[in-house]
């Protein structure tokens, strides 16, 4: 989009932490917009879904009744942008009676402690 695409080959580890439900507030949608733009910068990108953020990638979202756009299919397109490191918090899933089978994308389910280690390794953590 702009001329700052070229950053002299610097590759940093970027993590996007998604903590909010997909509807009710715009955080999830606008956070996904950041991730899609970030893909163009060829950085090392990973996403975490935790707390109510696990609902963002839940199967079977029907939003006609609330007149909001169902943007959940976009998460499936992340693979095409070479964004394949998706992590989900095990405790957050269980607290909501969900399992990996309820999710529309392939993810790695990790316990909170393992997610902490993962966060420690990052250069940049954006939390939405």
């Amino acid at each position: 989009m702009e001329d700052e695409m070229m950053e002299g080959g610097v590759v940093k580890k970027f993590m996007y932490v998604n903590r909010k439900a997909p509807y009710g507030t715009i955080y999830a949608l606008e956070s996904l917009e950041v991730v899609l733009i970030a893909a163009a910068f060829e950085q090392d990108v990973s996403l975490i879904f935790m707390d109510d953020g696990v609902f963002q990638i839940k199967k079977g979202q029907k939003t006609d009744g609330v007149d909001m756009k169902n943007f959940s299919p976009t998460y499936r397109a992340l693979e095409m942008y070479d964004i394949e490191k998706l992590y989900v918090c095990k405790e957050s899933l269980e607290a909501r009676g969900m399992s990996e089978d309820d999710l529309i994308v392939d993810v790695e389910v990790l316990e909170r402690a393992a997610l902490q280690d993962l966060m420690d390794e990052q250069d940049v953590v954006f939390s939405f």
Partner: protein, 130 residues
């Protein structure tokens, strides 16, 4: 150290813009550099020049404008988030066929790439949000 700042909440309703301002000011006083402040989500509302808070209260937008002018801080407002919420500069107002524009002095409107660039360029990016 070179800092990037992300502000995700609007003024007055949330304290995140205040905290970010105080962080930026303290950083500069300590000799650090603020590479860029990026306004996203409702954070774009920090950039409207139409706010008129009571005179005994702080003026959040004006404080940012003055910081930008005094210390050459790059204040960037996300274009997609801004257009949704009615924050326009002169050229966007023209492009969107709107009669008015309201981007405060010291701010500029640009793309999300500016946030990613800050992440790449800065030693630390600090997020001020809900």
């Amino acid at each position: 150290m070179k800092f990037g700042i992300l502000i995700n909440e609007g003024p007055y309703q949330h304290q995140s813009s205040d905290s970010a301002y105080q962080f930026a000011k303290a950083s500069i006083e300590k000799g650090h550099t603020i590479f860029r402040v990026f306004f996203y989500h409702d954070g774009v509302n920090n950039a409207t020049n139409l706010t008129a808070p009571p005179t005994d209260d702080r003026n959040v937008t004006l404080r940012w404008t003055e910081l930008a002018q005094e210390h050459d801080v790059d204040l960037v407002v996300c274009i997609a988030a801004a257009l949704r919420r009615g924050i326009l500069d002169e050229s966007e107002a023209k492009r969107q066929n709107k009669a008015n524009f309201n981007l405060a002095d010291g701010f500029r409107i640009s793309g999300l790439g500016q946030l990613i660039e800050a992440g790449i360029q800065c030693d630390r990016v600090v997020v001020f949000g809900d």
